[in-house]
Amino acid sequence: MRTGAKSDMTSQVTSLARLRSRLADIPVLVALLTFAFLFLLFSIASENFLTLISLTNILTIASIKGIFVIGVAMLMITGEFDLSVGSILAVAAFVFAITLESGMAPLLALTLALVISGILGFINGQIVTRTGIPSFIATLGTLLAYRGIARGIGGGNFARFTGERPFLFSVLNGDLGFINELAFPAGNARVSVIWFALFALIAAIIMARSRYGSWVYATGGNREAARSQGVRTNRVIVTNYVITGLLAGFAGLVSFASRPSVDPLRGEGWELIAVTAAVIGGIWLKGGFGTIMGAAIGIVLLQMVEQGLILIGVDVQLFQGTIGFILIAAVILGTYLTKQ
């Protein structure tokens, strides 16, 4: 087997190249290093960063988006986009709110909202696999269409649940008191963090250790090859859209459970945050490469930057600009590392 190193290269160059190729093999590493660097930076720059309230805040806010980032990441590894996650999230929250308010049993309302979310994901998958139009455009269309459904259900207005909060709300997104009371001021950790960690772990294991994971990578890496080897690539794509729809819907219910009202703009713009998190986490835009853990680190990183900038005293208006800068830096670094 060739070593790939030319004899006239200096040892310095080859060791750099070797480091580069090793880094490229572990896509999560770059995200992890960036995360560690920024974490250190904020810890030094702001005395309030390393506090329970600040850290739990980051995790809790990141976790709701994190739940559907997992689905978006799986889809991007398959080589497809889903821009409709924010709209599906809103539809699920509205269905949940209105059915609960009308007196439906909480578990039934939850099931109904999730079934609808799954169906919306299934429709995305069918449009993408049957028509062959790029998923970026297809789900841009459903982003608008599903947002229209959410507005329609809510009559263009807020939807609230005014009854006594059912136990289900605590399961979905209760307060994690035993963590929050560990320090003063008290933390802000909620159950959504556990859901996020749990889903991320399950998805990561499936992607690394199951046949389905292998098929997802193959579908994104070389669809023709995968098909020629008997992988049912369309089924993989549709399944991933359904998973993403379910996760987006679940995130909508989780966010509703902590504060039982939902507005027609809920989740708007979150689809791009999800894509940003996935890319910062080392997932390739053209698919076939990246990890769920990387994307999970990506979304926490984004939230950490927002929180950190506020604590440092940087104008919040600079947040988006900073994220844009980090995104571009991540892509450039990724391109450099994976250049053959």
Partner: protein
């Protein structure tokens, strides 16, 4: 022109005609391949050799004619059909995923694993080990089955595809221009894998327009020109120059 005596062919294509609109790409071709041989399929660009193979692998449907596999008439209307019948085709790059490891590619679509409800839990170690052993059998040494296919050279990638076909018990291996994009050293390696495949009992159809590459490793040569079979010749019947002349039509039969 001679035919191999007495044995039943592994695959027999009879009177294959293929028309694309008004163009007749194949005008009634008979083609037989026997067990344990490497058969070269030669012809100039556009002669019809690729069309003939695509009929066999289910990419195209013949306008008329039939295919007999192991003595039975078979219907092959899709690549999946061909594969299910044990006909494996290796194209230059088509059937591998560069970003995935060698063992994942090797077992892609045929993964070994434990069924746990809807999930199939992969036997990663088993598959990596089997991949290494199986490639070793045909003389391919890899550093690690966990390496990415993208890091391999063109010849090594061919070898993975060839090894895969042997491992999964293909009845017939078709190599479509396997050496066209390779260096001399790499080409020699791939040729040695082809011989090893034959020694493992797997008949090979070797498609090429390069007489040099096929001459040494093939047991017989079928030459196609203008959609018609010029003939099938045993090794030793023709010189390289004869073959080249038959391909171009500088010489008739």
């Amino acid at each position: 022109m001679t035919e191999t005596n007495g044995r039943t062919p592994v695959v027999e294509m009879q009177g294959i005609v293929k028309r694309f609109g008004t163009v007749e790409a194949l005008r009634g071709v008979d083609f037989k391949v026997y067990g344990g041989e490497v058969r070269a399929l030669l012809g100039d660009n556009g002669a019809g050799k690729s069309t003939l193979i695509k009929v066999l692998t289910g990419v195209h449907r013949a306008t008329s004619g039939k295919i007999v596999l192991d003595g039975e008439v078979v219907k092959i209307v899709s690549p999946a059909d061909a594969r299910a019948l044990g006909i494996e085709t290796c194209y230059q790059d088509l059937a591998l995923v560069p970003l995935m490891s060698i063992w994942r590619n090797f077992f892609l679509g045929r993964e070994l694993g434990l069924k746990l409800g809807p999930i199939r839990w992969l036997y990663k170690k088993d598959m990596a080990e089997q991949t290494r052993a199986s490639l070793m059998d045909i003389g391919i040494e890899i550093r690690s089955p966990r390496d990415k296919v993208g890091k391999l050279s063109g010849g090594e990638r061919q070898s993975i595809a060839i090894g895969r076909a042997i491992h999964f018990g293909a009845k017939l291996l078709i190599l479509d221009e396997p050496t066209s994009a390779l260096s001399v050293g790499e080409t020699n390696k791939v040729l040695s894998y082809i011989i090893n495949a034959k020694e493992q009992g797997l008949p090979v159809i070797f498609i090429s327009h390069n007489v040099n590459h096929v001459y040494e490793v093939s047991d017989s040569y079928t030459i196609i020109r203008h959609g018609l079979k010029v003939g099938t010749y045993q090794r030793g019947e023709l010189t390289q120059q004869d073959i080249a002349d038959l391909i171009t039509g500088a010489r008739e039969k």
